[in-house]
């Protein structure tokens, strides 16, 4: 066991640090958007951003190296420097196109997406197709040189701003469930698209419903062949899971909680002096550190090309479990302020002096539930662990409906 990063990686860290110290933050008073764009281009040239994307599409085309990747993440976070534009386009669409897209599709979409010029949304879930996604009904018919699409998508983040949607559509109604789906790219700025924001229990709106009414997209705006959409979308999910780093968030949440317990009073004394609160914080730290060291273990296995085992199926449910525990303990520390309205700013920022703001913790109390549901509910994750991890029989109904 060796927990150091090794000499080569440490000298790489020094390079990253010196790059950041001469390039971030930019000079005062300039145009913020331009400066941001210029910084990202420079950081990509240096090989720190868009590492998995070939140079011809605007990436830095670096050999996969999760150690370097985590050093870059650590140093950029430390310097509060921006990384790739956040969003489902860079996280999911780009890796999918690189893997399965036609040459012209890569040319047209990849560079513009990683540079933040094109925004995407994901058209997967439907009102009747949540956990059972492959039962989706949105229909695509080839009419001449165009797909004509009709149906409804839901839980679509960023649909209001997005330029395009990558979308799962049933194009082969005669084929078996999974084999009838295609992966289409759709221009969001056209008649027939109706986006309606969904108001969440927190009061803010991160998701939308998207109605598609005779929406059109060119025949060749399909990724993979007709009927291969399910497989193509699985590539994307694999890429999504590869985005680790959730352990760092749990560590930050715990630190924020300790800060909250120091600031707030319970029964006239700082909450941090309350025996029950102290024990619960220590208990939570056990979970958080187990999660954190498990991410080291997974990274090591990844470097060696070995299978990390059943633990890799637990990353999501572990971090959502921790989000619940943090939120519940925060509510105990807040006492009567636990009745405050959630902050409209959504997820709290744990850096800076606002960890004591009740509204943000209440927002976390609610949004930790959203995280547990999005991208596969915790109960679906439990099925996956039992079936793929333990080899227990598949759910009878799920088995039957795949046929």
């Amino acid at each position: 066991m060796d927990l150091s990063y090794g000499e080569e990686i440490e000298s790489f860290r020094e390079e990253v640090k010196s790059f950041l110290s001469s390039n971030w933050p930019p000079a005062e008073g300039g145009d913020k958007a331009e400066q941001l764009q210029a910084f990202r281009l420079k950081a990509t040239d240096a090989g720190y951003l868009n590492r998995g994307v070939p140079k011809q599409y605007g990436g830095s085309e670096q050999a996969p190296d999760s150690l370097k990747g985590s050093v870059i993440g650590e140093e950029f976070r430390r310097a509060r420097a921006p990384m790739e534009p956040a969003g489902i386009g860079t996280m999911m669409l780009v890796p999918t196109l690189l893997d399965r897209g036609e040459e012209w599709q890569k040319e047209k979409f990849v560079r513009a997406t990683i540079q933040g010029e094109l925004g995407w949304c994901q058209g997967y879930s439907e009102p009747g197709s949540g956990s059972d996604l492959a039962s989706l009904k949105t229909k695509g018919e080839l009419v001449g040189d165009e797909w004509v699409i009709n149906g409804q998508k839901i839980w679509t983040s960023s649909a209001v701003e997005a330029d395009y949607m990558f979308c799962l559509v049933r194009t082969e109604p005669e084929a078996k469930k999974h084999a009838g789906i295609s992966y289409l790219l759709i221009d969001m700025k056209q008649p027939g698209i109706d986006v309606r924001p969904l108001k969440q229990m927190t009061g803010s709106s991160e998701f939308n419903e998207v109605f598609l009414n005779d929406v059109r997209t060119p025949k060749d705006w399909i990724v993979g062949n007709r009927g291969e959409g399910w497989l193509v979308s699985r590539t994307t999910l694999k890429h999504e899971r590869a985005g680790i780093g959730a352990a760092g968030q749990s560590v930050a949440l715990l630190q924020g909680l300790v800060a909250l317990a120091r600031e707030r009073k319970l029964n006239g004394r700082p909450a941090i002096e309350d025996t029950e609160i102290r024990r619960k914080l220590a208990e939570l730290e056990g979970y958080v550190r187990a999660h954190q060291y498990s991410s080291y273990l997974q990274m090591t296995k990844d470097l060696k090309g070995e299978n990390p085992g059943v633990i890799q199926l637990m990353t999501k449910i572990n971090s959502t479990n921790m989000g619940h525990m943090v939120a519940k303990l925060a509510m105990e520390i807040l006492g009567d302020d636990g009745l405050a309205a959630p902050s409209s700013e959504g997820l709290m920022s744990l850096r800076g002096g606002d960890a004591g703001s009740a509204g943000r913790w209440i927002s976390q109390y609610m949004s930790s539930l959203g995280v547990a549901i999005a991208g596969g509910t915790a109960n679906v994750q439990r099925n996956v662990i039992a079936e793929r991890g333990f080899g227990l029989p598949r759910d009878a109904a799920a088995n039957k409906s795949s046929k």
Binding site: L3, Y5, Y287, S294, T300, V310, Q381, E387, L392
Partner: protein
């Protein structure tokens, strides 16, 4: 970054596992479980011949000079197999002699222990759950000690006791010394027998370099070994429950078809699986991260032993009626979870220490 066991550590685990599967299969384990004294000297001697009595001891005294992580991975394997052997307290007693003994004392006391010829144990707890060095009250007067120690693992069999003394000092009392009275205590865990040991003006050899620091190190090692044992035991209970779900039939299908049970089993695994990395790190910290070792050991012990206790309940439930019987096997691990939870202080004690040490 290499956060993983070495090939040697894996081999060590496999060797111990194979030996125990041959020499102490379930039938033999059950014999010992039901036996009056529950101790198999031949079994322990066999493990000592594999080097288990001195993994962490200096090479010049017959040890293998390995790290606490090596000791801990063996503890995991012993926990998984519910091995009825005095590994924990023998390891702690010898670690105490290394940490607190002068060179002359180590040279005299360690070789027989490293070979397994002599069995040593620790006598730390005093009445009322006083496990920790700052709580020890027994004192030395003119080279003798008087007083009582509780929950001494394999106290009936040990040849020597490393006794916790006031001020965090440590001393060795021979079993044959005058005034030593050993009283068997019927504990729930019949794979690790316990005794109450009283001293009445018994001659004691104080370890010359012992004090709060060496005592703290022994406690840290103990907490890590208990966390490792708890991880091994809890993982084993998850495996046993999954196997049972695959073989037991009701309503014409194996009960593993039922989602309620699948989710319960998944939850058990979710609770325990990440704890592997926590106990590894805690063991590594004892040797390599001095400023974080004590607190991490406290967090690891409380976390893993709490998880083990809950999983022992869940596994019993997952086994249905058979889980509640003496004949069923889960009860063996259920009771080991009780031992791991209490020995060296309950999870609550170590959560309070962790809070204190963090300056909360």
């Amino acid at each position: 970054m290499d956060f993983d066991l070495s090939d040697e550590q894996r081999l060590l685990q496999e060797t111990v596992q194979q030996f125990l599967e041959n020499e102490c299969p379930m039938a033999r384990l059950r014999e010992l479980f039901d036996d009056e004294t529950g101790y198999d000297a031949v079994l322990w001697k066999g493990l000592a011949e594999l080097g288990l009595a001195g993994i962490h001891l200096p090479g010049e005294y017959g040890g293998s000079e390995l790290e606490i992580l090596d000791l801990a991975v063996v503890s995991e394997t012993l926990g998984a197999l519910a091995a009825p052997v005095p590994f924990l307290s023998h390891s702690l007693a010898t670690e105490a002699i290394v940490a607190g003994g002068s060179e002359a004392q180590q040279a005299r006391l360690l070789p027989d222990c490293a070979s397994g010829e002599r069995l040593a144990t620790v006598a730390f707890a005093e009445e009322g759950g006083a496990w920790l060095p700052e709580q020890w009250t027994l004192d030395v007067s003119e080279g003798t000690v008087s007083g009582t120690k509780e929950i001494v693992e394999f106290g009936e069999q040990a040849d020597a006791f490393v006794v916790g003394l006031a001020g965090g000092r440590l001393g060795v009392v021979e079993r044959s010394a005058s005034g030593v009275e050993i009283q068997r205590v019927e504990g729930a865990d019949r794979t690790r027998r316990i005794a109450r040991v009283s001293f009445d003006a018994s001659p004691i050899e104080v370890l010359e370099r012992s004090g709060p620091e060496s005592a703290a190190r022994v406690v840290d090692v103990g907490l890590v070994l208990l966390a490792a044992d708890a991880f091994g035991g809890a993982r084993r209970l998850v495996d046993m429950s999954v196997e049972y779900a695959k073989s037991r039939e009701q309503f014409g299908v194996t009960i593993g078809h039922f989602q309620a049970l699948k989710h319960q089993l998944a939850n058990m695994a979710i609770e325990i699986e990440p704890a592997r990395a926590l106990y590894w790190y805690a063991a590594h910290a004892v040797d390599h991260v001095a400023d974080d070792a004590t607190r991490t050991a406290a967090i690891a012990k409380s976390h893993v032993c709490d998880r083990y206790s809950q999983i022992a309940r869940d596994a019993t439930e997952a086994h249905g009626g058979i889980g509640y019987t003496w004949e069923g096997d889960t009860q063996i691990w259920f009771k080991r979870a009780m031992f791991d939870r209490v020995f060296l202080g309950t999870p609550r004690v170590h959560q309070d220490r962790a809070a204190e040490l963090a300056g909360w």
